[in-house]
């Protein structure tokens, strides 16, 4: 096993043992971190590794949450089947949006995806009969193979398993030739194309995978909250997602979950201050780029290096935030 694998499995082991003694409230927060972390993994693939900026991932997240919620509650499908269909729906819509979106570069892509996210919100609102619109839908506790996740602890384990599988998936493809091509493309699209890389296909693929992961995040999020309504999936959520990967650390698996923890825990810590936690968000987003472009994972690395005397293992190679990230010129 490499250091990265040891580190990863150690984190999973800790995450599996720690919650046994925790109150339901903390379990709920950890569950949310898991669900958001899955979204961050996907968004990191798209933005951190391939340099495409999406301001519409709340749309895919909502597609996942609503598809699974509607299929289980209205059509009585078992949760695993509904989850699989929801992820497939995220993938499909990701392809549909991705194919035209690869024509767009940089800021235009950001604006188009922003429009997409708001569009999904309107669609949910418009089809009140199916989605409940502003009144929302109640979510039943999911059951997987006869095992009903009807308590916060069981739900937490469900999310932990799903998140671990996603990390394994991403960790496996991160070293693949495909993702290396993706990084090459981010750094210079023209050079990548000249070397015979099929830029369009790769971009669409990255978009679809990232959309599918966002949908899976939604599938996990819905039962954790127990309720979905259109106000949960606004532009604000898309921005939360992007701030998650930026604050956590671009292109990093550990960073994805650190960022998710940041956006889940900070509002809770600042609960007494009303909406002011958004100022903290805003400042964090600014300060990260002004002073510390490596994000939270940079701090973890630093501490790891102090203790272990070697670079932290939990990071895919050569995917630090480059000046070119998101700039396709």
């Amino acid at each position: 096993m490499t250091r990265a694998q040891i580190f990863g499995w150690a984190v999973v082991a800790v995450a599996a043992v720690v919650p046994l003694g925790l109150a339901d409230y903390w379990l709920y927060l950890l569950t949310l971190i898991g669900a958001y972390g899955v979204v961050a993994l996907g968004l990191n693939l798209l933005t951190g590794l391939s340099g495409q900026i999406s301001l519409g991932h709340a749309g895919f997240f909502a597609i996942g949450a609503y598809t699974s919620a509607i299929l289980t509650s209205k059509y009585g499908l078992p949760y695993p089947a509904a989850a699989a269909l929801a992820v497939a729906a995220g993938w499909g819509v990701g392809l549909l949006v991705g194919i035209p979106a690869v024509r767009l570069q940089g800021l235009y892509l950001a604006i188009a995806t922003l429009a997409f996210g708001i569009g999904v919100e309107r669609v949910i609102y418009t089809f009140k009969g199916l989605t409940g619109g502003p009144y929302g839908l109640m979510i039943d506790p999911p059951a997987v193979l006869g095992f009903a996740a009807n308590s916060p602890l069981k739900l937490y384990y469900l999310v932990l398993v799903a998140a671990t599988l996603c990390v394994l998936f991403i960790a496996n493809i991160v070293r693949s030739s495909q993702v290396r091509m993706l990084v090459a493309m981010r750094d210079s699209e023209l050079a990548a194309a000249c070397m015979g890389i099929n830029v369009t296909r790769l971009k669409v693929l990255a978009f679809a995978i990232s959309a599918a992961l966002a949908a899976l995040g939604g599938v996990l999020y819905a039962p954790a909250i127990g309720f979905v309504s259109v106000e949960q999936f606004t532009l604000w959520l898309s921005i939360t997602f992007i701030s998650m990967i930026v604050v956590g650390g671009l292109g990093s698996i550990t960073g994805s979950f650190l960022g998710a923890a940041f956006v889940v825990i900070v509002p809770e810590l600042l609960r007494g201050f009303g909406a002011y936690y958004q100022i903290v968000y805003g400042l964090a987003m600014i300060l990260v780029f002004v002073f510390w472009p490596k994000g939270l994972v940079g701090f973890v690395d630093l501490i790891g290096r102090r203790i272990g005397g070697a670079p932290s293992p939990a990071r895919p190679p050569a995917i630090a935030l480059s000046k070119k990230a998101g700039e396709n010129s």
Partner: protein, 288 residues
Amino acid sequence: MDQAVINGLAEGSVYALLALGLVFINRITQVATFAHGEVAACAAFIGFSIFQATGMPFVVAVLCSIVAGGVLGYAIERIVIRRVQTSGLLATIIVTLGLYFVIHNAIVAIWGPEVRPYPAIFGDTTVRFAGVAISSQHIGVIATAFLIAIALAAYLRWTRTGLALRAIPQNRYGAEVIGLNLRRLSATAWIIGSAVGAMAGVLIAPLTFLNSNMMGAPLIKAFAVAALGGLDSLVGAFVGGLLLGVIENVMVVYIPTYLKDSIAFFFIFIVLLVQPKGLFGRVRMEKV
């Protein structure tokens, strides 16, 4: 129908001014700022507070708003943007989104979330013109937008700084070589762009009432029309803004009201699909 067109032109004037400021800043600094709307809202609030506290004539308060917009723009450029300007698109998008949250919630913190009536700048009379009743408010808004656009065009056309500001988007490298002070001109662009944005805030406040959320939707629409113009065409942004206002208000006759705000996004999605650089955008050749 005529009424819808007039309303549309008035609303569109606000989008147009907002988009104008956005494009003005983006042309010089290559930063499309998501904080633009909040800067405008903050400026409108500052002017309003000065008006209430001192009781000076309202026109002076409006001027204070515009100055406040310029000062805010300058502060943002000096303190934040200058440090990240060369760090790429993702950095500037995230940082300006961060600024959006900071300013937006600062407004909520200082002035509270409540909606306040904002005095009508151009009075509350109605003018009859060619059989259509037009409120003086609407005429005033449209006229002001055109005046500002013309003033901006004159500034760019006939002043030395204006000339420099036109040179930069044409050839950044060349502009630097001939000794233009890019840093100072960036600050200038932020001041002017934010002041124009502040004017949009002041103009929209009487229509939507003064509140912390008033610039959210207009900003996104301004982005939409700015993108139509390729983010670097001032004329495109202005015309696009007016056009969007009219289209929205005419369409609303045929579709449910709550879909009104979606027209802009539908519009932009279609345009970007057909014309990825916007309708007026220049296609840039890439050198290898």
